[in-house]
Amino acid sequence: MSELFSWWQYEFMRVALGAVVLLVPLLALLGTLVVNNRMSFFSDALGHSALTGVAIGVVAGVSDYRWVMLVFAVVFALLMNRIRRSRLASTDTVIGVFSSVGVALGLTLLSRNGNLANYQSLLVGDVLSITRGELWLLAVALMGTVAVWLVCFNGFHAVSVSPSIARSKGIPVGLMDNLFVVLVAVVVMLAIRWVGLLLINAMLILPAAASRNVARSMRSFHVLAVVFGLFAGVLGLTLSYYNGVATGPTIILVLAAVFFGTFLLRKR
């Protein structure tokens, strides 16, 4: 038994556990409405925009490019949302175009002078690289998201079911719609350095998608998404330690197993 917990003696593993316990529920919570609103393609495109955000930061010579990445993602999300709402073109096409531009522009700018390899961590991330100080940042982000959820969940949900009924009830439809994508943009950009843009969307979507297979109310939907996320996070971290493989992808694989398991049990 003590063998199983031998990783506890390492500071970086204890910090990583803290990160997983904060980060996975944070993404799982947001993921519930991303999944319910059929916005997984949207959040995927948003993740890809991180490349362009970083590239702009690098080209502009900004020392901490994370801020540029964050601001760019928020602008990108609002713009994408606006076009999505205007119904000028089909939603998935618009998002596909945005996603491709986000990746292509980012790669073009970052590949100048053959420096692309320096930015590999952006693609795959590393949960184990998190510091104790950054745990606080994650804790604040989790509390902030829970606070927004408490105040705005009904608005978000009302708009997603029917914008017309929401408007008749006096809910500010445009504000709610934009606030939600900005919240997703901020959290995704915060998490991307530890998860990587290739996998961030999986971590956002999978806990909620698994939960949706079996949940029978908004309460069980939320509780199960967080429980599945925590289970996969802790198990994935442990498995990755003993097998000497990357942590983020291991967590995603556990989440995928949970998804397929619940899919077989799904309510029908």
């Binding site: 949706r212 029978r216 109310s217 939907f221």
Partner: protein, 245 residues
């Protein structure tokens, strides 16, 4: 006559253009509290568009004014209950009918455990619409008639000054429609302006207080007897009072 605070809805010269084309043109009318004002007309006549303009969802020319008994525009924003023509709720959504009711009619976050008192209040309200038994059903698995009753219950909590009901063209069977009409008769007594788009001309003839025949413009308006006797009505509905146009 009723004594509600917001006595009258005045629609003055409403025009809605989409891509330069007027879908609704220069519509003016008054609707009163405690009365059912029914809108009839062929499909595509602009009835739903007019309703969306009244709701503020579509930009329009002209104005929509609520006024009290004295005719002075009301200061407070009117409460609106809206039942859309159709609502495609994702069949896979985990939301129950209770979750929808909490979402739209309370401040309590619908993802938290719902306090007993709130549930009882919602149950009591839904019971009036013969929908209390639906509260724990998945919202995406309701029949057309059940969904209508649920939407009507949501639209009337809290008590609205104006109820806007866009009757579904299909998907609700005859007994479902009759239930909705019976509920409207009750609601009419509860001091609210009721606007109804209906495809059931028999019902409109018997129960509406005022009728507006619309085809982009107002072709005829007034009491059901007047409108049904008008030339414009005979042209629009050569078959007369059959249920479907």
């Amino acid at each position: 006559m009723s004594t509600c605070g917001l006595h009258c809805l005045k629609i003055n010269h409403i025009t809605v253009r989409v891509g330069g084309q007027p879908l609704v043109e220069d519509v003016s009318l008054h609707a009163h509290c405690g009365e059912i004002t029914a809108f009839i007309g062929r499909n595509g006549a602009g009835k739903s568009t007019l309703f969306k303009a009244i709701l503020g969802e579509l930009s329009h020319e002209g104005e929509v004014v609520f006024s009290g008994h004295d005719g002075i525009p009301a200061k407070k924003k009117p409460r609106i209950g809206y039942v859309p023509q159709s609502l495609n709720i994702d069949p896979g959504t985990p939301a129950t009918v209770l979750d929808l009711a909490v979402t739209y009619t309370s401040r309590w976050p619908a993802f938290l455990p719902i306090p007993r008192r709130l549930r009882r209040e919602i149950e009591a309200h839904f019971a009036k619409f013969n929908a209390a038994g639906l509260l724990d059903k998945p919202a995406g698995r309701l029949s057309g008639g059940e969904l209508q009753r649920v939407l009507l219950a949501i639209a009337t909590r809290p008590h609205p000054d104006m109820l806007i009901l866009d009757e579904p063209v299909s998907g609700v069977d005859e007994s479902g429609l009759q239930q909705v009409y019976a509920l409207l008769e009750q609601l009419r007594l509860e001091d609210m302006v009721i606007l109804l788009i209906s495809h059931d001309l028999q019902y409109v003839r018997r129960h509406a207080d005022r009728v507006v025949l619309l085809d982009r413009k107002v072709l005829a308006k007034g009491s059901p007897a007047d409108v049904f006797a008008s030339e414009a009505f005979r042209t629009a509905f050569p078959m007369g009072g059959d249920r479907h146009e």
